[in-house]
């Protein structure tokens, strides 16, 4: 870990730049560039996955995802420009607001798609509050954690857990197990840097493990969830529909080989063998059409994003900023690892989107908002 330690810039050097008043002068260009690169590739890949849909407009998904990305960039700028300490101060309101949204979406006001009561239908668009809730929860935990200055005893840890439990229960009711898992990742990451004690962290990990086993053993999982888990554990059992999905997904990625089939040339992609390819399985398009080279570069870009977030966490002026950054980092890392891992058969299948890549407005915009928070923390590290 010496390498990581030296990555922290010396304090003295930063003193000379403290006088620079405008925070925008300290914006992390590398992070912005990496995010824009990934999002750009995402739009292209969504197009590749959807252009051959025989019904209707081949540019439908391309146009919408491009709009989502542009909206996301706007949201990112807005979020970055409001001092994150303002968000911190409004944390209780934000928390209540998000709870209300999550309650409303379960009411008849929300709409149901593919068995999940998770959307508000607004004109031709759908808004998914659970995506927003992830970012909101990060802000709330950061606010609570920073108040206690890195000293979380058992009662405070439980308070954080209780805070997170509200939205998690509501999201699980939709049901959206994938997003609940993202919350767990966020919790683990933020609690760690907010100062939870090692034995609490260990206890939490243990409880989590027992919970997962219990859920599976006690039959609390829905049939499709068991099916997915079975496909992950027994990839050769072809009786499961998820096994088919997983096999097609792996075939698509392997079909790319070293350099890929070429943009728009993937046969698995062209012939729609991979289900949900423009959303959860977008990575298979990259794997098949751009090969190890393209998929590797995408992962490098993701690594750069994660590295810059980690760096922002380390440089943050206060604990609140650090927790915000680590929360965002946990969210991204978990989603990337789970999503890419599931397309390659090293993680079970869950409906978690790949940040900036998967088609979807709420998810894309939420990701940009999260990056906005990180930029926010990073550029105000002197003020």
């Amino acid at each position: 870990m010496t390498a990581t330690t030296t990555a922290l810039p010396p304090r003295r050097e930063s003193l000379s730049r403290r006088s620079s008043a405008a925070p925008w002068r300290h914006v992390d260009i590398t992070l912005v560039a990496a995010v824009l690169a990934v999002a750009g590739l995402g739009v292209l890949m969504v197009y590749s996955a959807t252009q051959r849909r025989i019904d209707g407009d081949p540019h439908f998904f391309l146009r919408r995802q491009a709009i989502f990305a542009l909206l996301g960039i706007g949201v990112m700028v807005v979020v970055a420009s409001i001092d994150y300490r303002v968000f911190r101060d409004f944390a209780p309101q934000i928390y209540v607001g998000i709870l209300v949204l999550l309650l409303l979406v379960l009411s008849p006001l929300g709409s149901n798609r593919r068995g999940a009561q998770a959307w508000f239908q607004i004109g031709g668009f759908q808004f998914q509050p659970s995506e927003l809730a992830k970012v909101a929860l990060i802000v709330c935990i950061a606010a609570y954690g920073s108040v206690h200055r890195g000293d979380l005893n058992a009662r405070r840890v439980l308070t954080v857990l209780a805070l997170a439990a509200g939205p998690m229960v509501l999201i699980n009711a939709q049901p959206d197990l994938g997003t609940v898992l993202v919350f767990l990742a966020i919790l683990l990451g933020t609690l760690l840097v907010a100062g939870a004690r090692p034995r609490h962290m260990a206890a939490l990990g243990l409880v989590g493990l027992v919970a997962v086993i219990a859920v599976f053993q006690l039959g609390l999982l829905k049939e499709y969830q068991k099916d997915r888990l079975g496909a992950f554990l027994e990839p050769s059992d072809n009786s499961l529909s998820s096994t088919y999905n997983l096999n097609q997904s792996k075939i698509a990625i392997a079909n790319g080989g070293l350099t890929g089939k070429g943009l728009f040339e993937g046969t698995q992609t062209k012939l729609a063998y991979v289900p949900e390819q423009h959303t959860d399985f977008i990575f298979t398009v990259v794997g098949e059409e751009l090969g190890l080279l393209g998929a590797g570069l995408l992962m490098v870009a993701f690594a750069v994003v994660v590295w810059r977030i980690w760096r922002a966490a380390a440089l943050a002026k206060d604990l609140c900023g650090t927790i915000v950054c680590v929360g965002v980092l946990s969210m991204f890392v978990f989603q990337i690892f789970e999503n890419v891992g599931m397309t390659m058969g090293i993680m079970p299948i869950t409906g978690i989107p790949l940040p900036f890549m998967s088609y979807g407005g709420s998810a894309t915009i939420a990701c940009f908002a999260a990056i906005g928070l990180v930029l926010n923390v990073h550029m105000r590290r002197f003020s």
């Binding site: 990581t4 090969g291 190890l292 604990l319 690892f337």
Partner: protein, 637 residues
């Protein structure tokens, strides 16, 4: 929390992140580099589908090129599965138009015989007005098309059904045998007759399409295609006119027989079945092969119902599917005397001048009781007869003596009759290229012993005795032959001793009518036939037809014998528990034989009165004079 602690915790986060990313890279490397090949092969399998479509089957023609089996193109309504899937409105409209239930329509659409990537035929032979409606309202019927499909058609209905055979869906055993030659489940295959024998020629080569298919089963593109190669036509030796003549005459003869009363038991003749074979003795060509009762092979087109198929194999209907010409085994009766006579002359047992006093019966030496006495039909006495005369009037006593003497005399000639009969192909398959041919039987001590061992109840006597040889001499006892064997043996006698393998197909033609392959005459063997032995026998057969006292004279009364001279032998075979089998075997013209006709009619009475008139009508047609209806005559044997 100290600053160091915060750094440590961030470091832990960093380590976790680095491990997770490493795992992703490792897995990517494994899938895209190490394991890439096997999975890439699956990707190719994913997208490509092989589809085979049968080629139009070749026709079957008669010897003059007239079609016996052809392909009828009919309009079929086909459905593309993927387009109508879950489209209840279209299914409902289509079912109503075709006049079937939606359930039935869905069952047809799901027919597993058809490739999922090609339109499935759901109705064939659809009336023109419905086709027009479909075409005019195509917008209401997405995924529904009208296609021309070829199916087997029989312009002469049931004519020559047994020879032609039928086609049907390939079954598991046939498939297992032929999988390497490109057959697939659901393919049609010749099941019997010529359709079966010349399957390879008739079938052609199916088209082969390599289609690119997406995950939903939609055909995206045709990657490669090999056009179908239509099957070749098979031209038979059968003559449409002779075949029709033979079938009509046989049916008429049986019909007429059923109106007559059997004097032995005072009941009407049953006359349920029979067979006629007409051959050209010069090369073994079959000109006609009739078997009654028959069936219409059209019933097999697009699948025969289970009930109908069962009824075609039912004993109560006398097994219409059975080709009696090659599968029916009958005691030849007096038609067998030709071979007894030949054996006697060629082995020196008698000369043409040897005479014998026929007093109507024959008693075995050193034997007592009624079972030792063998009588002529009706116990008639013919007085002093020589061989020729014995054939003309069909004296059994003359031949009883020959049969008894051969066996009783011992020595190398004990089995002379059997040996002679076998040289002429009796008791063995003729080898005609049609499936399920029966062997017949020329009994001898060996066959008797085997029968006795096999079924001691039905054959209590394991020893071959003189009486058995006496029965054999007039084609009775355990002697059985198929009508084709009888015709083929007479053909060998007629042509001077060449035993041919009967041939049913003359050549294989391509689509333009050019011969791809000629099917030549195949000689099985040269049978020793002394012209000095042949002449008096032929004279006897000629007398049976010409001589006023001949057994077939009545049947041939008024026949234009000056146009076509005929020699023939009647036969009346006793079958235990049944009425007599009527037989007649004829050769014409006598001087230079071009036709051999064999007629066998089950439970129809005397050969001279029932079978000879049938042969007469056929020969009259062959002679070129218009044949009237079959006229049964009185008479014996």
């Amino acid at each position: 929390m100290s600053n160091d602690s915060a750094r440590l915790r961030l470091s832990i986060v960093g380590i976790i992140v680095i491990s997770l990313f490493s795992a992703i890279f490792a897995r990517l490397w494994y899938l895209q580099v190490l394991d890439s090949e096997t999975l890439q092969a699956e990707a190719v399998r994913n997208q490509k589908r092989l589809v085979f479509e049968p080629a139009p089957r070749g026709r079957v023609l008669d010897r003059k090129g007239r079609p016996l089996v052809e392909n009828h193109v009919s309009e079929a309504v086909t459905v593309t599965r993927i387009d109508v899937k879950d489209n209840d409105a279209v299914l409902g409209r289509l079912a109503a138009l075709l006049g079937i239930s939606v359930v039935e329509l869905e069952r047809r659409i799901q027919d597993p015989r058809f490739s999922p990537y090609r339109p499935v035929p759901v109705a064939e032979g659809v009336p023109e007005d419905k086709i027009v409606y479909l075409r005019e309202h195509q917008a209401d019927f997405p995924g529904v098309q009208v296609q021309a499909v070829a199916e087997r058609a029989y312009p002469n209905q049931a004519l020559a059904a047994h020879v032609l055979g039928y086609v049907g869906e390939i079954n598991d055993t046939e498939l297992a045998k032929r999988e390497t030659s490109g057959y697939r489940l659901g393919d049609e295959i010749g099941k019997s007759g010529v359709e079966q024998t010349y399957e390879t020629d008739l079938r052609g080569r199916p088209s082969r399409l390599v289609l690119e298919v997406d995950s939903a089963g939609r055909v995206v593109a045709t990657l490669s295609s090999r056009p179908p190669q239509p099957g070749h036509d098979v031209q038979l030796t059968l003559d449409l006119d002779v075949q029709r003549l033979a079938e009509e005459s046989l049916a008429q003869g049986l019909e007429a027989s059923r109106r007559r009363v059997d004097r032995e038991n005072r009941k009407s003749f049953v006359a349920p079945a029979g067979s006629v074979v007409v051959m050209d003795p010069r090369d073994g060509s079959v000109l006609a092969m009739a078997s009654f009762p028959t069936y219409d092979p059209t019933a097999f087109v697009s699948g025969i119902s289970r009930d109908l198929f069962r009824s075609l194999q039912d004993k109560a209907n006398h097994f219409p599917l059975t080709n009696r010409a090659i599968q029916g085994q009958y005691a030849p009766g007096s038609t067998f005397k030709l071979f007894t006579a030949l054996a006697a002359l060629q082995r020196g047992a008698i000369t043409p001048k040897t005479t014998l006093l026929d007093e109507g019966s024959f008693r075995l030496r050193s034997c007592r009781g009624e079972r030792c006495v063998f009588r002529n039909a009706g116990s008639r006495a013919y007085g002093r007869v020589d061989l020729t005369r014995a054939l003309v009037v069909s004296s059994d006593v003359f031949f009883y003596n020959l049969g008894a003497n051969f066996w009783f005399g011992g020595g190398p000639n004990r089995l002379a009759i059997q040996e002679t009969a076998r040289q002429f192909g009796l008791g063995e398959r003729t080898g005609i290229p049609l499936a399920s041919e029966q062997r017949g039987r020329i009994p001898d001590p060996e066959s008797r012993r085997r029968l006795h061992e096999l079924r001691p109840d039905a054959f209590p006597e394991g020893q071959w005795r003189t009486g058995d040889n006496v029965n054999l001499s007039i084609g009775q006892g355990e002697t059985v032959v198929t009508p084709l064997q009888l015709a083929n043996a007479y053909a060998a006698f007629a042509n001077g001793g060449t035993l041919f393998e009967p041939k049913i197909a003359a050549r294989v033609l391509d689509g333009r009518g050019r011969a791809v392959r000629e099917i030549g005459a195949k000689t099985l063997r040269q049978v020793p036939l002394d012209p000095n032995a042949r002449a008096p026998i032929l004279q006897g057969l000629r007398g049976a037809v010409f001589d006023p006292t001949g057994t077939a004279a009545g049947a041939f009364a008024g026949f234009p014998l000056d146009v076509l001279s005929v020699a023939g032998k009647t036969g009346t075979a006793q079958v235990s528990g049944r009425q007599d089998t009527a037989l007649f075997a004829a050769v014409a013209p006598v001087e230079n034989p071009q036709y051999v006709v064999a007629v066998v009619m089950e439970e129809a009475g005397f050969g001279g009165s029932a079978a000879a008139p049938v042969a007469r009508r056929i020969l009259q047609g062959l002679a070129g004079s218009p044949p009237g209806p079959v006229q049964l005559v009185g008479g014996i044997d």
